[in-house]
């Protein structure tokens, strides 16, 4: 399958939504505890993120970002568009410029999903937080990512809050001066 054909292959979005739903449902059955499921989703997302970033860099021609603002724009306008087909808006910058929100009008992961009452603390799309955290760690940024609002839990929009913690410095391997 040539490279161009691969790029044009469109995954059926329902299959994607159903697959994700099956994954969360299974995790709920296995762990029987919303907090634990949230943690597992974050962990799985992290493992996806550390690899996804390489695919992202290979396919987009984005180079290193100069600052956190540029990073926010690239995440919202290039990455989310490329992988989920949506473009969240970047808002609510903190005065120090180290925290911002991504507002998602729609979220392909939650199409047709309703949370039952006994899972009110489940962060259904927590995988996304892990993905963002893992991906940014691989480009030397330590960030904290969490859902501030969730349309599945009654809020009007879905809001992901991202906070820059620190730059991860490149080290020489141990044993060299």
């Amino acid at each position: 399958l040539c490279r161009e054909c691969k790029r044009l292959t469109i995954l059926n979005s329902e299959l994607f939504t159903l697959t994700y739903g099956a994954l969360v449902t299974q995790l709920c059955k296995d762990y029987e505890n919303d907090e634990e499921v949230n943690k597992q989703l974050d962990k799985m997302g992290y493992n996806i993120g550390v690899r996804l970033i390489e695919d992202f860099l290979a396919r987009s021609s984005v180079g290193r970002c100069q600052d956190f603002r540029e990073t926010a724009d690239v995440i919202a306008k290039v990455a989310f568009k490329m992988y989920l087909g949506i473009t969240p808006s970047v808002t609510n910058w903190s005065p120090a410029g180290d925290e911002f929100s991504l507002i998602l009008e729609s979220n392909p992961l939650v199409d047709f999903v309703e949370l039952p009452d006994n899972h009110s603390t489940l962060v259904y799309s927590n995988l996304l937080c892990g993905v963002l955290r893992g991906a940014l760690e691989m480009v030397q940024m330590a960030v904290d990512v969490k859902f501030a609002q969730d349309s599945l839990r009654g809020d009007n929009v879905t809001e992901i809050r991202m906070k820059f913690i620190k730059r991860i410095e490149e080290n020489l391997p141990a044993g060299d001066e």
Binding site: E54, L57, E170, L172
Partner: protein, 145 residues
């Protein structure tokens, strides 16, 4: 025109892959020491280039050449470094090194969940494809010019 050899390092300095096509002289040290030397030198030279740059730096260190060979360097924001030694007939290999990253490393290693990142790559598929790719380069011939 030819490609002598190729190194791929990850962000921690581990050598993920080494390929050799046309090397007439060895370094005289063990492979481990050679990889450490290569990585350490590149780390220093990149830091030197950025410190001593009289202007704002864009891509940083790209290549160096001697009277016999040229070393081409390519680095991704994730710290994956690809180094290729060719003879002097090859002007600019950055596109090729980017291709190696995007069509070989990302496709065959990153997207393979069974490949552990950060260790020496043991994927035969990757080695074979890389070998084919290098041999198919327009400036590759089995013997140096």
């Amino acid at each position: 025109m030819t490609v002598h050899n190729l190194y791929i390092f990850d962000r921690n300095g581990s050598c993920l892959h080494y390929g050799e096509w046309n090397r007439k002289k060895e370094a005289g040290i063990s492979k481990d020491e050679e990889f450490k030397l290569m990585y350490g030198m590149l780390f220093s030279i990149r830091s030197f280039c950025s410190k001593m740059s009289p202007l704002d730096m864009k891509d940083g260190f790209l290549s160096f050449q001697t009277s016999k060979y040229k070393l081409h360097y390519y680095e991704t924001p994730t710290g994956i470094k690809i180094i290729m030694n060719t003879d002097l007939g090859v002007p600019n290999a950055r596109d090729i090194l980017h291709q190696i990253y995007s069509t070989l490393y990302v496709e065959y290693i990153v997207k393979n969940p069974l490949c552990v990142l950060g260790e020496q790559l043991s994927s035969d598929l990757f080695s074979t494809r890389l070998d084919l790719y290098i041999r198919a380069l327009p400036f590759f011939s089995p013997r140096a010019a």
